[in-house]
Amino acid sequence: MFDVEKEIRKWRKTLQRNASLDEGDIAELESHFREEMAREVASGAGDEAAFRTALRHSAPADALGAEFEKCVPRPRRGAPFFPGFLRLAFRRMAKHKGYSLINIMALTVGIASAGLILLYVLYETSIDTFQKDIDRIYRVNLYRKSAQGEDVVGGNYTLLAPTLKAQYPQVESAAQVFGGSFEPEPVVYRDKAFKEENILTVNPDALDIFDIPLLRGDRRTALDRINTVLLSDRIARKYFGGEDPLGKNIRINDKDYEITGILGDPPPNTRFRHDVLISFKSVENEEHLQGWRPGMAGVMTFVKLKPGVDAAEFERLIRDLPEKYAGEALKKMGAVNLLVLQPLKKMYLYESTLESLRPSQQLLYLYIFSAVAGLILMLACMNFINLATARSACRAGEVGIRKAAGAERHQLVFQFIGESVVTAFISLAAAVFLILSLLPVFQSLTGIALDESALLRFPFAASLVGLTLIIGIASGIYPAFYLSSFRPAVVLKGRPSSGLKGVRLRRTLVVAQFAISITLIIGTLLVAGQVDYMRRQPLGFAKEQRLAITFRTWGMMETNYESVKAELLRHPDILAATACSGVPGKGVNRTYYYPTGEEAEKGQALRSLRADSDFFQVFDIPVVAGRGFRKDIPGDTDRTLVFNEQGAKAFGWATPEAAVGKTMTERQTPVIGIIKDFHWWGLQRPIEPMVVQFEPSLFRYIAMKTNTKDLPATIAHVKGVYNRLFPGEIFEYFFVDENFDRQYRAEIRMGTLFRLFSGVALFIACLGLFGLAAFTAEQRTKEIGIRKALGASIPGIVSLLSKEFTKWVLLANLLAWPAAYFIGRKWLENFAVRMPMPWGLFVLAAAIALAIAQLTVSFQSIRAATANPVDSLRYE
């Protein structure tokens, strides 16, 4: 059976393969072909005969192509390996530069933003997950429960690691990692002296567990002896330059260590920055690291299990070890200790609890930013869909012709999707350049270390390409089906109505875009507002204009702190000074106390600050009952206690006054005063019970209340005094408020990123609006001309065009507000002190969105409104 349509399709295909013929040419040739056939049929021929005759009369594709090529200048063709639909896509894009530009810009910015966020997320999730055998490595955490509450900490019993390795065949290696001090420690080699932050004390197994490469030295023996140290290549160069460091001695915190090996530099994505690794043997004999002593536990323990060992089963086996080795002491304290395993690869983004792992704040931020990236991409896709459907009328003719000429619907769908995929990939190329140029800025904003090579790494490159493909298809698919649904008979007989369906969709998309943008704007304002709120919140102490200097170690000013203070106070701008073991925002230990005569179980581990008599004055912390320390009462030193209100409450004393005069422990240390509660740490954390003791042997800081009249001179004075009194030491100072605000770094960083990305979102939404406004203005050119000719004013016409968009943006607010409220409230729950839901911000966000939308639209409307009416009437 002769299928004439099939034969015509085949014939058409031969023409389509010829690059010199475009769709229009082929449609026309086909029309001719069919006329020819129709005449044959009319004169009595059968389908097949008619087809053969028409075929005989028509020229072969090559000849046709050659002839067309000769007569009609063709646009330059794309490279020959591009399939036909791509060539068409390029041709179309070149024809409509304005719209293509808007689409490409929006997609470029969208893909670049998503790419940056992706880099960030990949980096964060890569932290400490690169170690060999990562699936077998666990940190053994300590679950602690006492009358005061429960928590899970990373620091564990000193002897846990060796015990596990010796007694459990499941354990391949067990590392002891001891962090040491809160402050950077001085490292000295000859004339080179710096403070180093990344000093860890570890046993030999740590090299294996953390997969640390040893460039020189013997892996097995390097950490075997007391007072040996391994330096990273970077640090070795810093101190030794070209010299060979092996076998030399280096002074770390006043102790000499022999260098027994050089380590490969730590990668950026690790939290175990092994720049200086001291052998654990060197500290083993220190008193506070002895044995199975609860309360002294502070050595992190990592185990690598043998292949095939079931971690859950192993956890059950070791869970009660503290009971076995420290049961007596724990009972006395009324405490329970259990061991919990935490996989190394889930150490950064999860927090350990007794039962399971809990997502950390950091993970929440990763989720939020991933969602933001998704939203931004959605915005860019919506732009594409919006502009494509808005301009459907322009393309309806093309669709009609091609369909009438026999193009199948799926061919059209492929073509349209092809166009959007091409657009997406052009945008990808531009986005890669954008990412490269923004990388340094982004690094300093996020604090992550990345280089260009990160862009080439597999998961990133593959996801970005995959994402681009998805974007191309997602944004092309609706327009493709929408456009290809046009019926040729309708569109070719007259201008197709732009279709109610299309209008409604566009309105929905613009509203959605603005709803997303407004949500992000509210998010931005909320984060900024909360950070600001936290910074302005009364902390219970004065942090501004407080200068502090750090001492290398405890005891350096045990005997002479009063004279050091006196020297410092000679400067008129130094108003008061105190020596102390810490200042707010820095680390502070805990000490265990119980009331005299009570069972030890009634005790509490309190945050324990050591400070002299001037601390409360320097930081303006009021004493609410009793008195503070007095230097003229010798017994105050080391023999008296001051609690904060929480501390008094922790022991069940009803009022501050009731606490004064009570004594603690068997030593009967008297409580002489109660100070008002103040925030030692940022407002994310609640105020904890605290005890203050006048104990000079633990002083490490001097904090000063200063007058900022001439800061450089004040600092110069302090430095002069320090260098004179402590020759050979490294002078180091900081401002208490700056140091304190560092605790809000995550929030500030989040705020900056949020601002950046909501700006991007708004930009994309406005691009779309700009395109739509241009289109609307163009469509209404004639109407505007007539109105002007009839005497309408320019402002009248501008408002005519703007009114519609204003309505949409206002509607978007209605959607954005509940969403922003819900998410915002959830986020604020992370803070112990949070601002009241700021409704003003919602209105502000609405105003910002409206203003920007107005500005975008009015640019187009003003252009349309100021055009000469005669020009616009002549149009068409």
């Binding site: 072909f33 009369h57 067309f68 012709i401 009438a404 040729p488």
Partner: protein, 112 residues
């Protein structure tokens, strides 16, 4: 049989002359040429359409797609203002040639 060169040269004035009478589509134009020339001019598709497209590119003619009552898709061409002027210029040239040849081919008076 008219020579190839002459056919090619005359395509443009003939198309313009047909379209000055009204809108028309490709197949119909070929039929008309055949009719008018009494079968002496038989154009093929690969002669006509490229020229139509060039004329359109040059702005002498304009086109639009339409669907006939029979549901057939056709591309119609019509003359533009520029096309009329071009036709006039062509007409003068062709008339000049025609006049010259006519005079040359007038029967020679006997006896001279």
């Amino acid at each position: 049989m008219i020579s190839k060169v002459l056919v090619a040269a005359s395509t443009k004035p003939i198309i313009l002359s047909i379209l000055v009478r009204g809108e028309d589509y490709g197949y119909q134009i070929i039929q008309r040429v055949k009719e008018i020339s009494g079968g002496a001019l038989e154009w093929s598709d690969n002669m006509l359409y490229p020229v139509l497209h060039r004329l359109e590119n040059d702005g002498f003619i304009d086109s639009r797609w339409m669907i006939s009552d029979g549901g057939r898709l056709r591309k119609y061409y019509k003359l533009t203002g520029l096309g009329r002027k071009e036709l006039e210029a062509e007409r003068i040239q062709w008339m000049d040639v025609h006049n010259a040849l006519s005079r040359l081919w007038e029967p020679v008076p006997a006896g001279e």
